[in-house]
């Protein structure tokens, strides 16, 4: 059984998407572990990771997502487990998850260092499970080259199998391949794939947005599947708003307070994707009724406009189990840009 440990130099590099794409492209019986859970879901005393739940659903895995993580917090892990116990628990989980599987993907913490103090960092995981480590690198070109340089210069790669890197979310792919890729190869780092950025993978639905910012849906529930691409903070006057091209985009989300009917009404007329109403200010029933008729979600939050905008800025556009289009796109992306042969058994 092949075991691949996926980590990244920085958070949000696309590890889970890579795993989804690889699993679909390789078309084998897979298992999944995320020993140090991050995107915690807690319901009725059950604790599990969002990514574990997503992958369980996409690939119809028989195991429970709760069994795919050992812990979520440093404090709990420090309290409950020492190094030996952590290793034992990890191996037990691996045995359980790996039964009758062709390969296991082990997703490490948010970056290569995360979990070091509790023996769940990427390198420790690779050694314990005796797997192969793959590192994702993303960002602008300078960041990418810096991260890979740091990797080769300062991180000891002995004692475990290092597969190489996958470079993700590259904006100008041709320039990158011409200028930066040769330099990376000169550093002796195997590059298993260079994936361009796909803006459509950064989009999410109004429902996803509402869930992430804990918004209350006041109206327009039928439109929660509308796609969101851009966010506009409504701080201008109503006249300026009407003339602004920012208000013409159907994939826009407007953030404003509920008493700004001068902004809300033109936005509704321009068929925006959704409107976020800040400061818990509820608009008039006329506006709510109009939004309901148009199927444009009105999402109420208690935070102010600025804070809401910051929150949204921090949202990671994760795939959801309903996002079949996105998942198919990810699979194609991996097939087109990653060397899949490196993941088959004949290549150690």
């Amino acid at each position: 059984m092949d075991k691949f440990v996926i980590t990244s130099m920085r958070p949000s590099a696309g590890k889970t998407s890579l795993i989804i794409g690889l699993a679909r492209a390789l078309n084998k019986k897979i298992g999944y572990l995320k020993p140090f859970g991050a995107r915690l879901l807690y319901k009725k005393k059950r604790l599990w990771d969002y990514d574990a739940a997503l992958i369980t659903h996409i690939f119809n895995l028989e195991e429970n997502p709760e069994d795919m993580s050992i812990g979520f917090h440093h404090s709990k892990l420090l309290y409950s487990l020492d190094e030996k116990a952590t290793k034992a628990k990890l191996l037990k989980a691996l045995d359980h998850i790996g039964e009758n599987k062709d390969l296991i993907f082990v997703e490490a913490g948010k970056d290569i260092f995360y979990g070091t103090s509790v023996y769940l960092d990427a390198i420790s995981l690779t050694k314990i499970v005796e797997g192969r480590l793959l590192i994702m690198v993303s960002g602008d070109e300078d960041t990418i080259i810096d991260d890979i340089s740091f990797l080769t210069k300062y991180i000891r790669m002995d004692g475990f199998h290092f597969m190489g890197v996958v470079i993700n979310k590259v904006d100008k792919i041709d320039d990158f391949n011409d200028i930066y890729l040769p330099r990376i190869r000169q550093m002796g780092v195997p590059v298993l794939g260079v994936i361009p950025s796909f803006p459509e993978l950064t989009y999410f639905t109004a429902q996803y947005l509402a869930d992430r910012i804990f918004a209350k849906v006041l109206a327009g529930e039928s439109g929660l599947n509308r796609q969101v691409r851009n966010i506009v903070v409504g701080s201008m006057g109503g006249d300026a708003a009407v003339k602004s091209p920012l208000f013409q985009d159907h994939h826009q989300v407007l953030i404003t307070s509920g008493d700004r009917s001068d902004l809300i009404l033109p936005s509704l007329e321009n068929n925006v994707a959704a409107i976020i109403l800040s400061n818990n200010i509820v608009p008039s029933s006329v506006i709510q009724s109009k939004a309901e008729n148009l199927g444009i979600p009105l999402l109420l939050v208690s935070t102010d406009t600025h804070q809401t905008a910051r929150q949204i800025d921090g949202i990671e556009p994760l795939p959801t189990k309903e996002d079949t289009e996105k998942i198919n796109r990810i699979e194609k992306m991996i097939r087109d840009h990653v060397d899949l042969k490196m993941f088959t058994r004949s290549n150690p």
Binding site: Y42, K45, S75, S80, F214, I281, V282
Partner: protein
């Protein structure tokens, strides 16, 4: 209002002298209409028309200024344009006029608040009271005073009306005239800049000709004063209220469920019932109630019998009685013994009593006489369906003769009549003679329901009722509040609220606060599993909304998992929240969950609330309010009003719950609000209620402090 104010308001209705400022010869002017009405109404006091032009109007000398009048003036009516009103008011006030009725409009109702305030301030400083502006005047049968611009005569009688809408008031006068309902007084309060309904009630409560008071209001300015005035009045005579604004909605970011559930109309509805007033849905309903209450004795008991010659009408009447809470007498044996001798064998002696379509006037009388003679029957609801054997020509015998017989014996009988034009005409004419008839069983049942409610109120309240109160360590409680305020907080943390519960003697689950996982595990071990974990943060009020509560944790592993999950979730929901730790408390065993609250309502002052509790409290909205202070009986009636009251009685094999313990908690919360400074809202949700004798547990407590220290 002070005692001197009590006597003072009397002069508004019983002035010995009245000035009309703006009296006019021009028949199109209000100044003419008011003066004419005063003169033609039969007023015997001194009348002083005032107009700078002078001369005389209809033979009465006109003064150029109020300052020219030497004698004492009790009331001045102002009918001049708005821009001249301040000048006239200041002259009246300087002259020592007691009351000024400003009929003129064009003040706060059109946004001119400053101008109105100027008038009030000037008058107040000189001890003069203002009615209005924007009123139609005052009518008072006590002194035959019609100081209004209403056209036509106002019939004298026993109904007093207070109205906030001048236009509606004029309509009500017209309607009263049509229905031949005489008025003892009618007054509009207009902009309520000074004198309001409460002040007027104070007079009408003791005014002898007034037997019933009807009020139309749109809003209440000083709720506490209003409640007290209504309460005092209903002990002596019925008060019927029509209040508009039921559908008022407003966006509200309330910190407590009590605050957000207290929509003003819901609170008003409950409080008005608490005071014994009767709230009508329409003017028609209000007049029906007024007629029946003013002209008939209250039933001596709760047993009503329907006597009808039409089975279908009888069934409808039964439905109507159920709708309006009129209890139908249900003793088949006694009913049989009373009615079988007087109705055909094929009739029915079950209530409704069906004397059949073959009944003639004599048969009605026999049945009515039988009911009159039986002391178990307190009220008769007679239904007449016109037929060949009971033609409309016999209505006088069937209806009026029997009505007078009942009246002489102090028993209540009411009627609904169905038939053709002559029957309809009879209904109109009989009503004018004070006979309680209608053409709709629902109207009749509604009136009966109002009578019964008023009777029940009088029976359940007396002047010697004890106010529900509790002995508290108010000093210690206030100290906790002060400390929180010194720390810049306007609500109490969990442990502070718990301390107050302990001081007040309200049982709460055992709890320990922890700041680490280790501490949480130790606390859980000390308390004993299962436990509940709740976040402690001054920035997080609604814990369940932010994932700040984990229930029923049965072992160390679950405690450890919940610890991290709660912190993570709270930080995600409220990123800026400062979290002081986690509260580990015993998991109380299940019971019936209620919400109990006490708060200072912006309009009505201190109020208490009780309702079905839990996280869906704002969805279910099964709540009841009362104004403080309350009597113990009021608290019981609040609980009984809840739709979910049967849960407390015990359903599906469950035993009755400890209602007495609930009453104690409500009493205690009310006492905390009344005696301890600085608290504006105190709420327990859920209050878990166990079986009788097993008490209650206050699981989650929220206490919000008043922004104004003086509260």
């Amino acid at each position: 209002m002070t005692k001197s104010d009590d006597g003072h308001i009397r002069y508004l209705f019983e002035p010995r002298s009245i000035a009309v400022v703006g009296a006019s010869r021009d028949r199109s002017k209000i100044g003419y209409a008011v003066l004419k009405n005063i003169q033609s109404g039969g007023y015997q006091g001194r009348i002083y028309p005032v107009n700078p032009v002078g001369g005389d109007i209809e033979g009465v000398p006109v003064f150029r200024s109020i300052l020219d009048i030497e004698e004492e003036i009790d009331v001045a009516c102002i009918t001049i344009p708005a821009k001249l009103v301040f000048g006239a008011v200041s002259q009246c006030a300087d002259r020592g006029v007691k009351h000024c009725i400003i009929i003129t409009s064009g003040f706060s109702e059109v946004g001119k608040f400053k101008e109105e305030k100027e008038i009030i301030d000037y008058a107040r400083a000189r001890g003069m009271r203002i009615l209005g502006p924007n009123v139609f005047g005052v009518y008072s049968s006590q002194v035959c005073l019609n100081a209004t611009f209403v056209s036509g005569d106002i019939p004298s009688g026993h109904l007093a009306m207070i109205t906030q809408s001048g236009a509606l008031g004029l309509t009500l006068i017209g309607q009263a005239s049509v229905e031949n309902i005489g008025l003892s007084a009618i007054v509009s309060v207009g902009n309520k800049s000074d004198i309001d309904e409460s002040d007027l009630l104070t007079y009408l409560c003791d005014q002898e000709p007034t037997r019933i008071i009807l009020m139309y209001i749109e809003g209440v300015r000083d709720g506490e004063k209003f409640i007290q005035a209504v309460r005092k009045t209903t002990r002596k005579k019925p008060v019927v209220v029509i209040k508009s604004g039921r559908s008022e909605k407003g966006a509200r970011a309330a910190a407590s469920h009590t605050g957000s559930l207290a929509g003003s109309d819901e609170v008003f509805d409950d409080l008005i019932h608490q005071c014994g007033a009767l709230r009508a849905e329409s003017t028609k309903e209000a007049f029906n109630w007024a007629m029946i209450l003013a002209g008939n004795p209250l039933p001596k008991g709760g047993n009503t019998v329907i006597i009808t010659n039409g089975g279908g009408a009888g069934v409808m009447a039964t439905d109507a009685c159920e709708k309006y809470g009129v209890s139908l007498y249900d003793d088949p044996q006694n009913l049989k013994s009373v009615f079988s001798p007087v109705i055909p064998a094929f009739g029915s002696t079950k209530n409704p009593i069906d004397i059949t379509g073959q009944a003639a006037a004599v048969d009605y009388t026999k049945a009515f006489d039988a009911a009159l003679a039986d002391s178990n029957i307190h009220t008769v609801f007679g239904i007449y369906c016109e037929s060949a054997l009971s033609p409309s020509a016999d209505l006088g015998t069937i209806i009026e003769k029997n009505f007078l017989k009942y009246k002489s014996r102090g028993k209540l009988i009411v009627f609904s009549l169905f038939g053709g034009q002559q029957t309809a005409d009879y209904v109109v004419s009989a009503k004018k003679r004070g006979v309680p008839v209608s053409d709709d069983v629902y109207d009749t049942a509604s009136s009966l329901g109002a009578m019964y409610r008023y009777k029940e109120y009088l029976g359940s309240h007396s002047d010697s009722d004890k106010i529900a109160d509790a002995t508290l360590d108010a000093v210690s409680i206030t100290a906790i509040v002060s400390d929180a305020r010194k720390n810049g907080r306007f609500f109490l943390l969990a442990h502070e609220a718990q301390k107050i519960m302990n001081l007040a003697g309200i049982p709460i689950p055992r709890s320990i606060q922890a700041q680490t996982i280790q501490g949480a595990v130790e606390a859980a071990g000390t308390i004993g599993y299962p436990v509940v974990m709740k976040v402690v943060s001054k920035d997080i009020i609604h814990k369940s909304d932010t994932g700040g509560i984990a229930l029923n944790l049965e072992n160390e592993g679950e405690v450890v998992d919940a610890y991290g999950a709660i912190l993570r979730s709270c930080k995600a929901h409220v990123p800026h929240a400062l979290i002081d730790g986690l509260d580990i408390s015993e998991m109380v065993k299940p019971g019936t969950e209620l919400i109990v609250g006490a708060r200072i309502d912006q309009t009505f002052g201190p109020t208490i609330m009780i309702g079905l509790g839990g996280i869906y409290v704002e969805v279910m909205k099964d709540v009841s309010f009362r104004s403080l202070p309350v009597h113990a009986g009021d608290i019981i009636s609040m609980i009984k009003e809840l739709r979910s009251y049967p849960l407390l009685l015990g359903v599906r094999g469950e035993k009755m719950k400890d209602v007495a313990a609930v009453v104690n908690v409500v009493t205690t919360l009310g006492a905390i609000l009344r005696h301890c400074q600085g608290i504006s809202d105190i709420e327990i949700n859920p209050l878990v209620v166990y079986e009788q004798g097993e008490g209650i547990r206050a699981v989650d407590i929220r206490i919000i402090l008043a922004k104004n220290e003086k509260r």
